[in-house]
Structures are given as C-alpha cells and as structure tokens.
Symmetry: C2
C-alpha cells in the first residue's frame, strides 16, 4: 500500500491503543490537530485501506444496538510504523494568517501595525489557555514522547508571547 499523510496519524494512534474511527477523530482533535489535522472523510477510508493492507485488524464490538468497530495494530503494522519513524524527511508546512498580516503590516499606520503584534500575542495566550485546560492532571499519565509534544506546544506559546512583547518594545524604541 502507498502511505499518505493520514496513514501515520491513524496507524500511530492505533499503535498507542486500540481505537474506533470516532476515537481517532477525537484524539486528533484534542491532541495533534495543532500540528496535523485529519477529518472523518480521511479517517474512515484510511481505516479500510490499512485493514486491506493488513497493518491493522478490525473487530466488531457493538455497544447494545449501536455498531462499533475497534481496530488494533498488527505486527506488520508495527514494522511499517517503525520504518516511517526511522525516516529523516522533515517536511514542515504552515499557514499562519497572523504572520502573513504582520509581514504586510507596513501598509498600516505604525500604531495599528503594533496592534497586530498584540493580536498575535493574544493568539498565543488563547492557545496556551486551551492547552492548559486539556491538561487537568491527566497529562502526567501520557507516554513520555506524547508528553514531550504537549510540552512543545506549551513552551512554543510561552516563547511566542515573550517574542511579541520583545518585538513591540524594540520597534517602539526604534521609532
């Protein structure tokens, strides 16, 4: 099978523990959507592909009259996942509308342009608030590297807030 972007998200989450498609979507939205999003329209077809390839195994496990299919990883799936983890490609794509605005901020009066920096600061602050709300004591239970990535997000926000303040001061001094 030809792996795509969503392959590793789905396979990786199932490797952590057995899950339904719905579980996967929830995990994506709460944990990793900040650096890799995925929608139902990707997840359910991908589960089929992964099962056809023998990398995961689905088992029907209905709850009452509600259908439910739980997927777990196979040895072949684990091998494939480790192969990808060993890879060295380090593609980063981002679209950050606030950076884009900042880039063009010279079109504004100076004070309004500084306002964009404060807007960016606010964006970081809100994101940090959201992250802290996620971590109600449960964070400490996460596997070490899941926790590392959570820390990355928190540390990045804190760094970003300081950076915005520093730049605002610098630009005021220069003016």
């Amino acid at each position: 099978m030809e792996p795509t972007a969503v392959t590793w998200v789905v396979l990786g989450l199932i490797a952590l523990r057995a899950r339904t498609g719905y579980d996967i979507k929830r995990a994506v939205d709460t944990s990793i959507r900040h650096f890799w999003a995925a929608s139902y329209g990707q997840i359910y077809p991908e589960l089929r592909r992964l099962e056809d390839a023998g990398w995961i195994e689905g088992e029907d496990d209905p709850r009452g009259g509600r259908s439910r299919r739980v997927y777990s990883i196979t040895p072949e799936g684990r091998t494939a996942l480790r192969g990808w983890l060993a890879g060295r490609e380090t593609r980063v794509e981002m679209r950050d509308e606030s950076l884009l605005r900042l880039f063009f901020a010279d079109a504004l009066p100076f004070d309004d342009a500084l306002g964009l920096l404060r807007g960016r600061y606010e964006g970081y602050r809100q994101m940090l608030e959201y992250l802290r709300a996620l971590d109600d004591g449960t964070g400490r239970m996460s596997p070490p590297f899941v926790d590392v990535v959570y820390r990355w997000a928190v540390d990045y926000c804190e760094w970003g807030m300081e950076w915005c303040q520093r730049q605002e001061r610098r630009l005021r001094r220069a003016a």
Copy 2:
C-alpha cells in the same frame, strides 16, 4: 469579489511594490513560503480576479520580444488590504512531520526516540542556515515589519534548537 487565502498574499506583495506574476512567485518562495505557500496555479488566476475587481491594475511592459505584465495596487486595493489587516481572525494550520514522529516515538527503543529529537534539531539548524543565506546584507533594507517576520523565523529556529537540546537532557536525566 470573494477573497480567498491567496488573495492577500498577492495583493500584499503588489502593495509593497509593482510586480509581475513571476516576481510574486519568486517573492513567495524566498520570503513567505515558510508560513504561507502559493503556486503559479493560484497566482495567475488570482491576478485576473484582482484586476477584474479593480484592486490591482496591470500594464503591459514587454522586455524586447518577451511579454511581461506589471501589476500595481489601486486605491480600492489598498483599502481592501487595510480592511483585511484590521481583521482579528488568527487561523494557524500546520503540518509538522517531525512533531508527528515525535508524538509516536514511544513505539521506538528509547535511544532511537531520542534520535528523533536530534533529527528535529537538525531540521531547525538547516532552516536557520537557509535563512541566514537569504540575508546577505540586504535584509537591513527591508521594511520594518517584513524584517520583523524574518526575525521571527530566525528566532524561532534558535529557540527550537535550544528546546530540542533541553528536552534531550531532561529525558536522559529522567531515564
């Protein structure tokens, strides 16, 4: 006209100075592709749309027998740009394959997982190298907020390198 993602990239670059489609593509690739990419397949159709809307004005300015069309911003275009700049939406989407790997790194033996942190460090280092190569003295001539975003990229890389080292030390201590 209904603005899309690429609208502001094109309009903003033309607001900085008059440009051809080819110029825009070059500027995107050297300056802003780190936080907002755009391809020919978006840029040329968008130039049409913007001209139809009266936000930019094209003028044929061939070089010898080679056709060439230079676009400049109109007063209406400037107004529209400022309107967008005043906006507060701060959408950030990113796909960072190295963070994704790190998130799933618990599937690896500890030392291999630490290797992923060093891989991320390398990614930051290479990006920083690339950024520094861009700035051969000319950077100081950029408009202040263009320069701010350049600094953001540089500072982010430096922060990221330190972060990777810090985490590696922390995880080694914990183990």
